[in-house]
């Protein structure tokens, strides 16, 4: 291969056309008449690939697996019966961890339904965080059982800063939104935003923040939350 330019220190005008022209010059199947059709087809069908067997099971088993896999990566999980049980369960979690009774959350409808006014000593505030809130509470639109992964979307009701700045991150998810695999969540996103569209941010979160950068030993609490607590709402 002698047509290398590599780590060029010269500026190239018309980067776009020169890059595309070079790709077209070097690609082997450029004359293939169905090239474009193949790409269009794949993008429109977005075929589902191989789904691990562990993800393909009855829904109740998927929820169990989700909780089990999340626990394996140092997430704590509480299963509650109905959304109205959330304030008490959250208060108990905070007490158990000796955390301040102060929670920052978004406006997701499921959080609105919880009925926070029944717990007088829990201080609730809403909106994004600047980093001075000890506990954040968010809503996950989907969960993938295969790895115990939460999926959260950004939007008017879901500030992304709540997922990363507070030391403790609590997430509510309906059991009915838990499925086996990641692919199911993409179907949900397409239904909501239309094919080919995404919210600004989708966060897949699997456990609290960690780093293995000092002597390859995993330590919890790098830049994101030191603790991740999930509340699974069964009904």
């Amino acid at each position: 291969m002698n047509r290398r330019i590599g780590n060029s220190n010269r500026a190239t005008p018309n980067g776009r056309s020169s890059i595309l022209a070079k790709i077209r010059k070097n690609i082997k199947n450029l004359d293939d008449p169905v090239r474009e059709a193949r790409v269009t087809d794949r993008l429109s069908r977005s075929p589902v690939g191989l789904i691990p067997a562990r993800a393909r099971k009855a829904h109740a088993k998927q929820v169990d697996l989700f909780c089990e896999q999340a626990s394996k990566v140092q997430t704590t999980v509480t299963r509650i019966n109905k959304i109205e049980d959330l304030p008490a369960a959250l208060a108990e979690y905070l007490r158990g961890r000796n955390l301040p009774k102060k929670v920052r959350m978004g406006n997701a409808p499921i959080l609105e339904q919880a009925g926070w006014d029944r717990l007088a000593d829990l201080e609730i505030s809403k909106g994004p965080t600047q980093g001075d809130d000890p506990v954040g509470l968010s809503h996950a639109f989907a969960g993938a059982a295969e790895t115990g992964t939460l999926m959260l979307e950004s939007g008017a009701d879901n500030p992304t800063t709540l997922n990363f700045l507070p030391e403790t991150h609590c997430v509510v998810i309906r059991a009915s939104d838990i499925s086996g695999d990641y692919e199911t969540a993409w179907a949900t996103i397409r239904e909501k935003y239309g094919k080919g569209n995404m919210p600004r941010t989708v966060n897949m979160i699997t456990g609290p923040s960690r780093s293995g950068d000092i002597e390859q030993t995993m330590l919890l609490g790098a830049h994101g939350p030191r603790a991740l607590q999930i509340f699974v709402v069964e009904n």
Binding site: G15, I19, N26, V39, L50, T161, I214, A222
Partner: protein, 479 residues
């Protein structure tokens, strides 16, 4: 950064004598190999997913121009901007320009090998903008003024005690008597120092593990959450990614994600996989107001259609170097540029030229472990062999080696002579070495015996033993 790849041999000799480095390198074998093996074994579909992942990337490379155009249109649809950079200088200019327009004083950075490749930090610094690495490993090496020595564990060459010394030297505002003995306290200190930097930064630069053509989405995979704080807090988010990071759809990404972390750290999936599409929407309460993607070519389009095209499937998991006996012995800095280990030995000569990087493909025992663990099934040894052939063609191989090789080649083309010669030599060496079992010194083999003994042959060549066995089995069949 200064490229020292032509001095691989000298650098390696130094590395072998560096006790601190050798201690740290032990963590590569201990920290990665077993974890990957366990993660792979726990997923019955792992091998099949490797095949799927390879197919996806092969398909992308055959249609790269079309997917890039689709991707660009989708980014624009979601309010983002795409900048095409043919080379490193183009990418540096584009990024500096965006930072200047944002009046940036400080820039936070998520981990990005492309950013290392274009040496963006030096460029920003020269222009009065302070880049701050936020990945813990990258932060440590930035304090030390070093380059990463591993593509996913940039500070793998540094020991805990050295990190402590670096923090004490740099974090002068903290009490000198503080306890930094255990790694957790080091992590906490980095967390609090960097938290202020995250909140103050004007621009955040991240890399991308994938770019999704279907949606115009860039994806980063991290464990720390630093890449997320880098992109949601500043007003401007710049993504720097090379053109081969494209995948068609969200489903395709999901396939490759299932092999990425398992191959890299042995996790089933990394803690944070973040999908970013355009700037914050009108109704969003947070997120960046501007979203830029810098698409870097820097020699990659030249690899298409060549014997090195397969290298463009690489997803930068680091499994090849984690399993490489040469990397274990000499570490990443010996390779002298951005990419070390087997993937670096193939990529470096392609990106910076065979004159600078042509030495690296020789740093292999051809044991094949890299290929056997590569999630994208890249034939790394084969490509290193291609480079060696090119080096030979260019007459870049030392004279003595060339002469030796031509004698050997002539012999190999005359099998009868070859067999007779080797029989004679092996029988003789077997006789001479029978008493001690090994040679401490041997004429013409000084390069070997200088460092280790040469075991004495048992007295018969492979061909002789083969022929004898063949005769015996024939006799057995006959009786």
């Amino acid at each position: 950064m200064q490229i020292t790849s032509p001095y691989f041999k000298e650098k390696s000799s130094e590395a072998l004598k560096d006790e601190n480095l050798q201690k740290a390198l032990g963590n590569v074998e201990r920290g990665f190999i077993g974890k990957r093996a366990k993660a792979a074994a726990n997923l019955p579909e792992f091998e099949a997913l490797r095949d799927r992942s390879k197919e996806i990337k092969d398909h992308v490379l055959d249609h790269l121009d079309l997917y890039l155009e689709t991707y660009e249109a989708k980014v624009q649809d979601s309010g983002g901007r795409v900048h095409w950079a043919a080379g490193a200088q183009d990418a540096r200019n584009i990024i500096l320009d965006i930072c200047k327009r944002a009046n940036a004083k400080t820039v936070t950075k998520g981990k990005s090998m492309i950013a290392e490749e274009i040496a963006i930090n030096e460029h920003l610094e020269r222009n009065g903008i302070e880049p701050i690495e936020t990945d813990l490993g990258e932060y440590i090496i930035q304090l030390r003024g070093e380059a990463p020595s591993h593509i996913i564990a940039p500070a793998v060459h540094v020991n805990k005690e050295e990190v402590e010394a670096d923090f004490r030297r740099t974090h002068r505002h903290l009490p000198p008597g503080r306890n930094l003995e255990d790694p957790t306290s080091l992590l906490s200190e980095a967390r609090s120092v960097l938290r202020d930097k995250f909140l103050a930064a004007d621009v955040g630069i991240t890399g991308a593990n994938f770019l999704v053509a279907e949606t115009g989405t860039s994806i980063i995979v991290t464990n720390e959450g630093n890449g997320d704080l880098t992109q949601i807090l500043p007003r401007v988010h710049i993504v720097i990614a090379s053109i081969e990071k494209i995948v068609p759809t969200l489903e395709d990404v999901s396939q490759i994600l299932r092999v990425l972390a398992r191959s890299a750290t042995g996790q089933d999936i990394s803690v944070y996989t973040t999908f970013s599409t355009g700037p914050r929407r009108a109704e969003d309460p947070d997120g960046p107001e501007e979203y830029h993607v810098v698409l870097l070519d820097n020699g990659r389009s030249d690899m298409l259609g060549t014997e090195f095209q397969d290298m463009l499937r690489c997803i930068r998991c680091g499994a090849c170097m984690n399993h490489c006996p040469v990397y274990h012995a000499v570490g990443g800095h010996s390779y002298g540029w951005v990419y070390p280990g087997p993937m670096g030995a193939v990529l470096t000569p392609t990106l910076i030229g065979v004159e600078m990087g042509g030495n690296l493909p020789n740093a292999s025992t051809f044991c094949g472990r890299c290929e056997s663990v590569c999630p994208m099934r890249i034939p790394l040894p084969k490509m290193m062999r291609h480079w060696r052939e090119k080096e030979f063609e260019r007459h870049a191989t030392p004279d003595r080696m060339r002469r030796g090789l031509s004698v050997w080649a002539w012999m190999a083309k005359h099998p009868k002579l070859y067999h007779a010669g080797s029989r004679l030599a092996i029988n003789l060496l077997g006789l001479m070495g029978r008493r001690k079992g090994a040679f401490k010194k041997l004429p013409l083999a000084g390069g070997w015996t200088e460092h280790r003994d040469l075991p004495a042959p048992e007295g018969q060549t492979f061909q002789q033993q083969w022929a004898a066995q063949h005769r015996n089995s024939k006799l057995e069949q006959a009786t």
